[in-house]
């Protein structure tokens, strides 16, 4: 026990005396989340729309003001005919157009149905689709209100966006970003610090000493678990304060799961560093080994369900995939351990297996 405490103390000195690295470790996640959080967004704001209204009447005016009132659209042109639309789209002045048919109000009143065309610039297909669905939502809501007011009994098809009623992508992204950022710094931390000790030769001295491999591993992992945890708290607070991402579930559970996830990442770092004795290789390995799989296979940006089956299978070994499910569940749905125990168990098993593997790779007495 005394040996272990000595080892932990030494590692703490390393961490505290390298102020610059510590600052980077603690601030990097927060900064990265801000950068990514604003960069990776599928939300569309301030859409420039053109309105084609051949015969303005009470109904079209109401709908038009509703569109602008949603704060998502800014009217750049109101036209009588569709002739000029081509030019507006070509020049990029308009990203979308709402085209009313002539005599819109009359058709609506007659019950034959009024036609409305939503045109979007789909050079960026996602943005186009998003704009279209925004506009559709506004129109449908308006339609519903008019029907309610006029007493017509019609069944209106209605879609509801659960948990993310405003369909804000940040709610979807921030938990994924947490996984992304934490996994990178955690893996890097252990990979580099162990590779550094191999480079300076102190690791050899530790291995020859009576220290057991598991003591060396704990001596490395425990202090960095704290650093990673501090960084994680920073990111969670940031998610709430800057991005306004809700935390509907238990904060304690979220922190505990985060700790578990950091442990898995630290163990990956240990494993990487056990295969190399150069800091540079360890760093490259840690970055490649965590960044790409987490970015692509965790479901953080691309839904796992829409991947080809072999990739879906591979995604199961990416720890971030499970953590993203957990973090989204706790933050957005307020889910408890009751529903998340499977994911938790998977992460816990990963941590166990990785720590055992790295301990074994440290005990050189292999036959």
């Amino acid at each position: 026990m005394k040996r272990l405490i000595g080892l932990l103390r030494k590692e703490t000195f390393h961490i505290l005396r390298d102020r610059r690295t510590l600052a980077v470790l603690l601030l990097l996640p927060v900064v990265q989340v801000v950068l990514f959080g604003y960069a990776i967004r599928t939300d569309v704001n301030d859409v420039r729309i053109a309105i084609v209204d051949p015969s303005p009447d009470d109904m079209t005016l109401q709908l038009r003001s509703r569109l602008v009132g949603a704060n998502l659209f800014r009217t750049v042109a109101v036209l009588r005919t569709t002739n000029e639309l081509e030019h507006l789209f070509q020049s990029g002045e308009a990203q979308a157009a709402i085209v009313f048919e002539p005599s819109f109000a009359e058709h609506l009143a007659s019950g034959t149905g009024a036609q409305l065309l939503i045109i979007t610039d789909a050079t960026e297909p996602n943005t186009g689709a998003t704009i279209e669905s925004y506009a559709r939502n506004v129109v449908q809501q308006f339609e519903r209100e008019v029907r309610a007011r006029d007493g017509a009994l019609q069944i209106v098809p209605q879609g509801r966006l659960l948990f993310n009623p405003t369909a804000e992508s940040k709610n979807l992204f921030v938990p994924g970003l947490m996984a992304f950022v934490l996994t990178i710094i955690s893996t890097l931390m252990t990979a580099i610090t162990i590779a550094r000790e191999k480079e300076t030769g102190t690791m050899e001295t530790l291995l020859v000493s009576p220290l057991r491999p598991w003591e060396i591993i704990i001596g490395k992992v425990a202090p960095y678990l704290l650093v990673g945890f501090a960084a994680a708290i920073g990111v969670v607070v940031e998610a709430r304060l800057i991005f306004g991402v809700p935390l509907r579930g238990s904060a304690l559970l979220l922190l505990a799961e985060t700790l578990l996830f950091i442990l898995v990442s630290l163990a990956i770092g240990v494993l990487i560093s056990s295969r190399t004795s150069s800091q540079r290789v360890a760093m490259t390995g840690a970055l490649l080994g965590t960044m790409l799989p987490t970015l692509i296979l965790s479901g953080f940006i691309f839904p796992v369900e829409s991947m080809p089956a072999p990739l879906q299978l591979v995604s199961n070994v990416v720890p971030a995939k499970w953590f993203v499910v957990i973090a989204r569940g706790i933050m957005l749905k307020g889910t408890g351990l009751h529903y998340l125990w499977q994911e938790t168990l998977i992460l816990a098993s990963m941590a166990t297996v990785l720590l055992i593997l790295s301990t074994r790779s440290f005990s050189e007495r292999l036959e």
Binding site: K2, R3, I5, G6, L7, R9, K10, F13, H14, R17, D18, T200, G201, T202, E204, T205, L206, L207, V208, S209, P210, L211, E364, R365, E367
Partner: protein, 258 residues
């Protein structure tokens, strides 16, 4: 007659089809300074890894400080000290912190650590530098410090793997004075080196070639036996792999690198 500090009998280590250490046998007596020579790749490092309990032997046996390397490696680790060619103190810790760390790892009590650290600092005349970070201490002093820290738990056998690499001749001389002091106090020293003048300082040396011990004895015995005037000549003659022998190689001066 006490038991030898190191006993190796037909000690062998194979990696796949490659035999890194090929049935070596030797004894080292307590308090002896034993030089472990050989070209790079001759198997010295593998042999040391076996003797320090890091690697299990494939066959043969060895006892270090009375313990069997195959079955009692944990006990061996407590009984030996080790210092590698790479520097083995933490540069961002102070001298005292390094001593405390290693003392603790080897199970010394706080009082023992304190007393021995003071004694060590006085001996090295480094008392003023106790709270200086190792990084700020000149390389020569660091090397001596690393050696002294490796001795803090008073090991019965100490392994020095090229301890004087990269230091100037004056420091090397001082370092060897430390080695003699250590040996005189009864600690066995097994040292590897590429400096042939250092080989002359050893009580006995062994020269490893391709996993086997080609020569073993005191430096003067070996020179007589092979009728070579200097250790350099002897080393170059023996350490050259057999298939290269016969071609006249230029004779190196100073250090022998292979």
């Amino acid at each position: 007659m006490s038991e030898p500090a190191i006993v190796a009998r037909d000690l062998t280590r194979r990696f796949g089809s490659f035999t890194a250490v090929d049935a070596i046998s030797f004894d080292v007596q307590p308090g002896e300074v034993f030089g472990f020579l050989g070209a790079n790749g001759a198997g010295k490092t593998t042999a040391i890894r076996i003797l320090t309990g890091l690697l299990a032997p494939s066959s043969g046996s060895a006892r270090v400080a009375g313990f069997d390397v195959a079955t009692q490696s944990e006990k061996i680790k407590r009984a030996i000290g080790y210092m590698s060619q790479k520097f083995s103190l933490y540069e961002d810790l102070t001298v005292r912190e390094n001593a405390t760390l290693y003392g603790g790892i080897y199970g010394l009590t706080n009082d023992e650590i304190r007393a021995r650290t003071e004694a060590m600092l006085q001996r090295l005349r480094l008392t003023d530098a106790a709270n200086t970070r190792v990084r700020a201490i000149p390389l020569g002093w660091r090397q001596k410090l690393a050696f002294s820290v490796a001795l803090l738990h008073r090991p019965r056998v100490v392994f020095l793997d090229e301890p004087t690499g990269g230091v100037d001749p004056i420091v090397r001389r001082q370092f060897w004075e430390l080695i003699y002091e250590t040996a005189q106090s009864g600690t066995t020293v097994l040292v590897t080196t590429h400096y042939m003048d250092e080989a002359e300082y050893c009580d006995r040396i062994s020269i490893m070639v391709e996993g086997r011990i080609e020569a073993l004895g005191t430096p003067s015995e070996l020179k007589d036996r092979f009728s070579e005037r200097t250790m350099d000549d002897l080393f170059v003659r023996l350490a050259r792999p057999p298939h290269n022998r016969g071609t006249e190689a230029p004779r190196n001066r100073g250090t022998a690198h292979a």
